[in-house]
């Protein structure tokens, strides 16, 4: 028993600026959670356990973005204690919705929300984890997909690369046999430039993809932007649709878009 205890790899879950939704995705694995806990030793997961075991950790899942000076130091400590570090979700991989401050005046933001802004410690930017420390793998999404999370942990335990395709939402949409909302109905859709992973949830309900998994590699933003205009979107509307949960991701940021 003691031998098994030593042999199990350790898992740590870390939170930075975020909504908790991506680490909740781990607890949402209702069918797999107890079996997973037999395979890995959950050593640091504050949302789920008051027991904290010391590092180093074999696998660290990092949620959230870096928005304070203290957190920019803490992520370095986390990296130093982690053999494999995987970022989970749009906040950790791209800075999240809170990266909209990067394009505004953070002092004005602070004054708009708090009566005594001097009490509030924050950086002027919200940045991805990879901007601060080396990251071994990224899981995209706002929030991440449960199936991809389980695939990631399974691959880690098996010592192989996770099967997480870097294609567009369109590929998953086609495989589901869904009708293209843009071609058939003229509904603006970010599917052609958005990283796959969700399973084409929005087109399945007749809604255009709104890009919550962020840009795929090699996305052709200028071409899609023309198409969005054809669907009747104004410059402002196009600007807004790319300025959400992955607003600061290279690829969706204004300078990369051809807008």
């Amino acid at each position: 028993m003691a031998d098994t205890e030593r042999a199990r790899p350790t898992l740590a879950v870390w939170k930075f600026a975020s909504c908790d939704g991506c680490q909740l995705t781990l607890l949402d694995c209702e069918d797999e959670l107890l079996d997973l806990a037999d395979q890995v030793r959950i050593s640091h997961f504050l949302e789920a356990s008051s027991q904290v075991l010391p590092g180093p950790y074999d696998l660290s899942l990092v949620e959230g973005s870096i928005t304070t000076a203290a957190d920019s130091r803490r992520i370095r400590e986390v990296r130093a204690q982690s053999k494999v570090l995987v970022t989970i979700g749009a906040c950790a991989t791209a800075g999240g919705i809170q990266a909209l401050r990067n394009f505004g005046d953070v002092d004005e933001f602070r004054a708009a929300v708090y009566a005594s802004p001097e009490y509030i410690e924050t950086l002027a930017t919200s940045t991805a984890i990879a901007d601060h420390v080396p990251v071994d793998f990224e899981l995209r999404g706002c929030p991440i997909d449960k199936g991809q999370l389980i695939e990631l942990i399974t691959a880690f335990l098996a010592g192989r690369k996770p099967n997480v395709p870097d294609t567009s939402v369109c590929t998953q949409c086609k495989r589901r046999g869904l009708t293209c909302v843009m071609v058939a109905h003229g509904t603006p859709c970010l599917g052609p430039v958005t990283h796959a992973g969700c399973g084409a949830l929005c087109p399945a309900v007749g809604r255009g993809c709104y890009g919550c998994f962020g840009p795929m590699t090699g996305a052709n933003l200028p071409a899609l932007t023309r198409q969005l205009h054809e669907c009747g979107m104004s410059d402002r509307a196009v600007d807004l649709v790319f300025s959400t949960f992955n607003a600061a991701a290279p690829g969706f940021a204004r300078k990369d878009s051809g807008r």
């Binding site: 908790d20 939704g21 909740l24 504050l46 027991q51 708090y114 924050t122």
Partner: protein
Amino acid sequence: MTAGSRELRVSALARIEGESALRIVLSDGQVSDVQLRIYEPPRFFEAFLRGRQHTEVSDITSRICGICPVAYQASAWQAIEAVCGAEPTEAITALRRLLYCGEWISSHALHIYLLHAPDFLGYPDVVSMARDHRAIVERGLRLKKTGNAVLEAIGGRAIHPVNTRVGGFYRAPTAAELIPLVEKLREALDDALATTAWVAGFEFPDVELDCDLLAVTRPAAYAIESGTVTSASGLTFPARNFSDHVAEHQVPHSTALHATFDGRLFLTGPLARYTISSALLSPVARQAAQTAGLRDTCRNPYRSIIVRAVETVYAITEALRIIHAYERPDPSFIPVPPAAGVGHGVSEAPRGLLYHRYEIDPAGRIESATIVPPTSQNQAAIEADLRGVAAAGLHLPDAELTAACERTIRNYDPCISCSAHFLKLTVDRR
């Protein structure tokens, strides 16, 4: 430091959603300071919502909280639809209530089994609890999964639903698509009743909160997705008058704002909802409450776990009722053309009252946004409770007193991530 002085600190509280810490200073046999510090970094939602289109708001506000995204969508729809004079059909409203029931079931099961019950049974987490109580933990996970199944069937996704919009839904499910939920919900009803009986057997310290209570109410139903605001002290007012009564002020130790109700300490959440509206629960939920030993009101924060279980029973019976009476909304949404004005929305997130206010220009652009989450309303009451717990536990060694304080905080299911604007335990003994 004098001989009689000490400081207790918990730098990162566990089994709550988000980042907070506790600091308690005990000096010469008295509690001199209690601070529940929310150090969750500020994310400035209210600032960057300005300039956004009224149709985008609910997709953005859902990202405030991964545990209760539907609440953050619902309060936003309500406020924006009020400005634009759009009144969703009964069929749309019923489908929204069904979606919200899914969030109550899922969030309550998470709190009861994964976050709260380990405190009563002496485990650090659900995984170690499962070693001794596997079947019970599996029951809790099954309940949670059914809540998520409702969220997925109606909302398209459990966390940050994609099928929702101002005016209604992108696509309304067919009646046939809801049928698979019925069998799951019937099983969940048995599980929720067993949960209520299980938690009723826990040991509860004898404490009563004497602060005022605030909840959303409706004349003929236990309020979830909308209603008017009612206090235990007997005041009722519409959402638009919320800021006349609930004032937020900033405290140096927290990124959350503290709130008072007409200048007084108050609490929102399950205890408030139950105490104000228990008569409106479904017969099955009322009977479950009675069997579990609850009276018509409940002001014991430890017993909130029973109230959550009863509310889970209620949410399941409501979900079944709505599905049985389901008429597919057609169209699935009503148009919400932009209009200038100010709108207010209130709904009952699983952890308490959530208020939104938006000022919108004639083109539908958001000019200002105010979001008052339940945890910032509850923070002062939680600190007051902690002060009492610390005062009563002065004789305890630091580790025991700290554990008692952490337990106290978890009684309130605080959701720190809801730091739209928003709470660390340290105990100082001086």
